[in-house]
Structure formats: C-alpha cells, structure tokens
Amino acid sequence: MVVPSLKLQDLIEEIRGARTQAQEREVIQKECAHIRASFRDGDPMLRHRQLTKLLYVHMLGYPAHFGQMECLKLIASSRFTDKRVGYLGAMLLLDERHEAHLLITNSIKNDLSQGIQPVQGLALCTLSTMGSAEMCRDLATEVEKLLLQPSPYVRKKAILTAVHMIRKVPKLSNVFLPPCAKLLHERHHGILLGTITLIMELCERSPEALRHFRKVVPQLAQILRTLVTTGCSTEHSISGVSDPFLQVQILRLLRILGRNHEESSETMNDLLAQVATNTDTSRNVGNAVLFETVLTIMDIRSAAGLRVLAVNILGRFLHNSDRNIRYVALTSLLRLVQSDHSAVQRHRPTVVECLQETDASLSRRALELSLALVNGSNVRAMMQELQAFLESCPPDLRADCASGILLAAERFAPTKRWHIDTILHVLTTAGTHVRDDAVANLTQLIGGAQELHAYSVRRLYNALAQDISQQPLVQVAAWCIGEYGDLLLEGNFEEIEPLQVEEEEVLALLEKVLQSHMSLPATRGYALTALMKLSTRLRGDNNRIRQVVSIYGSCLDMELQQRAVEYDTLFRKYDHMRAAILEKMPLVEQGGPQVDEEAKESKEGAPAPTESQASQLLDLLDLLDGASGNAQHPPLLDPSPGGALVHLLDLPCAPPSPAPIPDLKVFEREGVQLNLSFIRPPENPALLLIIITATNSSESDVTHFICQAAVPKSLQLQLQAPSGNTVPARGGFPVTQLFRILNPNKAPLRLKLRLTYNHFGQSVQEIFEVNNLPVESWQ
C-alpha cells in the first residue's frame, strides 16, 4: 500500500502536532523516506514540492544532503516554479565545500543569458549568496554584460553580484571598475546604492582605485545634498528622511575617500555640516543618518569646528531616551576619547550619569569612558563618582571599576594621603575584586609616605577592626600594623577620631585574623609576621606573642609552620638579634607604574655629562660676553677663542651633534615653574625650537598666563599660540608654548622673557633674561 506523501502544509501541521522530540523525529523520518523515493522515481512535476518539504525539515536541523542533486535538476528545469525552489535549495544546501556546487555554474550561465528577468534575478541572487571563487571567475563576463542592460531590476542585482565577486576574487576589480563612472549617473536608487557599495569595495582593496574614485566626491556630494535638501519621493523615504539607506552608504563612501586626504575632506566639510544640522532626529532613522555623519566627520581630515560639532552630537545622543542611541554614542565617544580628549571632556557630567544605566553593556561603556576622562584637574570629583558607583555597581563590573580607580589614583593622585584614602576605600568596598598587585602597590605607597605612617596605620586598624573578611585589606592592614604598630599606640592624629588602642586589643585583632576561617594562607602569613614584628614595637612583655608563635609551630600549613618555627627559634636562641631582624623595612625598589618615574630620571641623568661640558664652554663664553653685554648688539665671536672652543669640543667624551639638549628651568615663584626644552631639527641647522612649559604645584590656579619673549636683532623669533592660559593648581595640566627661532648666522642666543599672570588673587609680572642657555641651542 502506497501511503501518499503529505503536502507541505500538512507536513508542517503534523510536525507541529508532535508532542515529543521522538514523535517529531518519527514523522520526519517517515516523510524523508517518501521524499527520497519521490526523488528517485516520482513525478518530476512534483519535485519542487518534495524539495520544499525537505528544506523545511532541514531548517529544523535534520539532514538533507540527499536533496542536493535535486536542486540541480530543478534549476535546470524550464519551469519558473522549479527554478525558484531549486535556487533556494542551492542557497540553503550547497556551498563551496560541496563539489556539487560547481555543477550549477552552467545553469546559472544559461539563465543569465536568457533574458527572463525574474529568472536572471534568481540566478544572480544565488551567485551572490553562495558563489565560490571558481564560479565567480567563470561567470564574471556574464555579470559584466548585465551591468549595462536596460532593466534596472537586473542591473541592480548584477552590481551587487559584482561586489560579491570582487570579495571572492579581488582580481575581478579590473572588470568591474570601468562601468562605475557611468553607473553613478543613474537615477534609480537601487542602482546608485549598488554602485556606491561596489565603489566602496573597489576602494578598500586597491589604493589606485581609491585615488581614481576621489574625483567622484563632488558628484556624491551632489547626490547627498539633493537627498537632504530637496528630498525625494515618499517611495524612498522613511519618516521624512529621504532614502536613509542611500544616505548612509554615500556617507560611508565619502568617509573612505576623505580619509587621510586633505583636499577631499575639505570639499566635504560644508555638506557634512549641512547633513548634521538638517537631519530630523525625532526617530531612529534620522539618528542613523546622523550617526553615520558623525563617524565620517571623525574619520576624515575635517575642520576642527566640525569635529567639535560631531562630538557634541554624540553628547546629545547621550541624552536620548532611546537606549540604543545612547549605546552607539558611548561606544563612539570611547573611540574618540584619546584623539579628541578636550571635546569629549565637555560631556563628562553626562557620561558619569550614564553609570546609572540599568543595561550592563551601557554602564560598562560609561565606566570605561569615565575612567578615560579622569585627569589631573577633575580627579577628585571623578573619583567620588566612581567610588559611589563601585559601591552599587553590578558584580561583573566591580573588578574593572576597582582596578580602573586604582590606576587613575596612581596617575593623578593630588596628594599621598588622598591616594591612600582612595585605595583604602576601594579595598573596603570591593576588596575581593582587586588585582593581586594592589596589596603590593599599597604597601609600597604607604611605606614611601613617611609622614603618613601614623595616619595609615590608624585608618587600616579601624577598617580591620570592622571587617576581617576582605583579604587584600586584611593583608595590607596586617602588614601596616606590624610595621608601624608603635605609631598606632602612640601617634595622635587629630583628623581621625582619637581611639585609645590598647596593646592587647591589637594583638587580639591579629590573632583573630590568624584564626579566622575566612583568612587565606597568605593572609595568615601576614598576620603571623606582623605579630612577630610587634614583639619589638610594643612595650608589653611578649608572652602572648610567644604563645601564638609556638602554637603555630605545629600548624598544618607548611609555610606557616616554617615561619612559626623560625620565629620561635628567634625568641629562644637569637633574642639578641631579634630587634635588628625585625626593624622597619626599607622601601623596596619596584617596577610597574614607578617605571615612568625611573625612565624619566634616567633620561635626565644621561645628558648630565654633556651638561658639564656645556658649562665649561659657557664659562668661556661668559668671559667674551661680558665685553658687550647689550641685547641689541649681538657679540661677535673672536676667531682665536673660537679655536679654543673647538679644542674643547674635541674632547673625547663630547657628545655627537644630535644629542638632546638638556632642559632648563628658568623661573620659579611660589610653586609656579617655567621650563625650557630645546630642539635643533637636524634637517634645518638654523632653526631652534624652544618649548616652554609652565607648571603649577601650588594650591591656587594660575590664570591669564601670557609669556612674551625677545631675542637679539640678528635672530628671528616666532611665537606660536600657547596651549592655554590657565595652569590649574596642584599639578594640573601645564601650559605649553612653542617658540621658533631662526639663527642662520649662529649668533649666540640670548633670550629675555616677560611673564604676566594672576596667582593667589594677585597679578604677577616678571621680566628676566634667561641665563645659562646651553651652547648647543645656537651653535
């Protein structure tokens, strides 16, 4: 008895009706057997139905490879229904890995050349979805022919197929580049869109193509301008925005063409400003165009004002009620925070607000961005926000937040005490999430801040007394109490609540840590050692300590046992050495973040030998200079002293000419300091660049800072605009300014500076000549 095979609809009904996975499998297996039989010797007219059923079953995850050859047969059929299903099957069941896929090449070739549009459409669609490199090579000419056919339906598909072909076989760029220029004049949106996509693909693969297509920038600009200003038919519009898909694609292409190319970028400035200001932002579609505009502005060589506009648009996005828009804004700002730091800084308050986002991917980005925006002048305010965030943030962000805070604190801590307080707060709030080196960093920091030992040990003791569960905190506290236990009992510190701490309490606390099941072995080690150190720091007798130490001599933990035994021996046999061994530790040399300081120091160390040479030379120069003394008349160098100078310069340890000229501190007053750095570019011996750097370590900001300079008449001086006029207090961002001095005659350099600024509420004016200018700056 032949059980008739089901129609597609019925099959689907039956599968959906199955109550268990096993039942479903049964139904499908039965039907697949039918399908197989039908493929073998069933009615060819119904083949397409069988394949459709098979494709449905395939989507549910069942094997369907036996249908591959059927796809080929259906594609080769002359009936449109067959072709439709056959090509669909090919896209779903065949791919480059199957050898069978090449067999459809001929069918595709036939279908492309027969001129029936829907059929050509199917063929092109399939080719662009699963066409392998081989297929693309074989069919490139066919597709090229179709690019110039009259029917836009076929042309637009041919263009996108060309895109796919170039992705598979980059060499085919040669075939598809020439038609682009003409295609760009088309008015059909689909063709334009495809062409722009094609041009993008060509440009990204070949610098010549990129150069070639730069000349269409004006044309692209015109198309975009028309879309934005006069609009187009409603057919292509979404919520009043004219063909946003086309706009976005044009913007992307402009981005590629304008990147690293001043001229092209300049022609786009106006247009981009226009798009940025004219686009309706009430719905997602307008914002999508706006977003693409921002991306383009930031990636090309756009005018500074335009860049600020773009960042401001992103800033506005942050206020948008649509969470998706806030997301793209945060992601983009994160990418821009290094290159356009000051523009992004302006949106810092909004960014900080975004820390409260409920969606973790947004708050994570807000966190990253906030950390990137911390600098010397906002560090206190920012840290407050970030620490508040740390207390309430979701657990998966804790670790990043904690390490971010610690890193920022290291870089920008205004005072050591603030730094210690910050680390302490992080350890108490998120102690379990900090990095391993946080303990080492903090002990290093505290160790180095002698004036803060008493303060630190007090605070750590209080924190420990409240909570002994956070291991990093416990470890640092134990270490500190061990080192500075004497200060804990004696030190009196007004700023913290005066706490009368008894020796017994201290010992009890350490013992508690030692015994607690929450303490890690390492922590126990810290506590034991701390107790031992206290034996020399505290005044009472050491019986209690000795007891503890001896108990731990039989501890199961090897490390602790060994320590305890050693300490016990110290008490019993080497008591005379105990004090010396347990003395306060010297500061340990440390790599890591300190490296910057060390590198700087070594850099400044290297030019030191040259400095001594220079000073010898200067002495000689001074003797000569004393004779003239007037800034108006540059002194002439006598030939014979010149000879003596040459001898000195010939000294074996004299540096070769490109050695860096040492910096010069030329001014200091109440924490305001002025430094000069010198650069002699080797390619222009007459040129001297001086960078003046004004820093401020005082407690009051320096404002309205202006520096003027004068040099002898035979030299030419050019002052560039300073980086700013304000030097914030407490080591805020310095003001820098560049002087360019042309000295073709190598006349001795003399420099007079005039500084005016406001500081501590007073206006300051200083005029002085710079002494000790290094000879290398003008010779």
Binding site: S132, L160, F245, A288
Partner: protein, 147 residues
C-alpha cells in the same frame, strides 16, 4: 551583513540566511549559541550586543526575534531600519503578518528577503519595487502552472 536569523521565543529557527560560507556544523553551533544569548537578554536591554568579533543587532516583533550579524564598520542604527523594512514587507505581503505565516510559507519569506537584500547588502530601497517584483514572480509561477 554576515547572516540573518529569525527564531521564536522557544528558540525554534524560522529562517536562516547566511551570506558567508560556513559548514553546516558551524552554522548549527553559531545558531545555537546566538539564540541562547539573545533569548537570555532582558527586555530593557539595548538591541545591540558584541558576540565573538561581530556586532549583533536584534529586535523582537511579537513572538519572533529578528537577528542580524554585522561587521565592525557597519552602522547598527541603520541595521535596525533594515530589519524594520523587512518586517514591513512581510506585513504588506501577508497582510498583517504573524509567525504562523512565516512558518507555513517559509519559502515566500526567503523570496521576499532576496528581493530586499542581495549578498548581504540592501539592493532596493523602495518598498513598492520590492513588492512589485514579488508579485511578478508569483504571477509567473501561476502562469506556468496553468500551462
């Protein structure tokens, strides 16, 4: 676009369009993982997520999730518009589309998608033109049936 997946709230696949060559096994793995990831998202979360080295844009329409994987330089916001346009096309074709339409006429869903996107790129920005093309193809199919 690298691929588009449509799946139900129970994780059943309703459409899969791949624009990059991957083995069946890889496709299954990606589908399984991505479906799990997207279904685990809470309703108040944004429509974008980073997954492997791709950006995923998804949106739920009634009981169906529409999920696209785009590349780093692609614009997420316009991808949302692409998804929306596809849903509008389905809606127009089926007349107030629901998941069942897409289940029982899955091949039509593919045909419509193939008139809107090609090789992962938008090929036609006019709704009218896309629907017209489908209409013509359907007519041709009917016409050949009779003869």
């Amino acid at each position: 676009m690298q691929f588009m997946l449509l799946f139900s709230r129970q994780g059943k696949l309703r459409l899969q369009k791949w624009y990059v060559p991957l083995s069946d096994k890889e496709k299954k793995k990606i589908t399984r993982e991505l479906v799990q990831t997207v279904l685990a998202r809470k309703p108040k979360m944004c429509s974008f997520l980073e997954w492997r080295d791709l950006k995923i844009v998804y949106k739920r329409y009634a009981s169906l999730y529409f999920c696209c994987a785009i590349e780093d330089q692609d614009n997420e916001l316009i991808t949302l518009e692409i998804i929306h346009r596809y849903v509008e096309l389905l809606d127009k074709y089926f007349g107030s589309v629901c998941e069942l339409d897409i289940i029982f006429n899955f091949e039509k869903a593919y045909f419509i998608l193939d008139e809107f996107l090609l090789g992962g790129e938008v090929q036609e920005t006019s709704k009218k033109n896309v629907l017209k093309a489908i209409e013509q193809a359907d007519l041709l199919q009917e016409f050949q049936k009779v003869h």
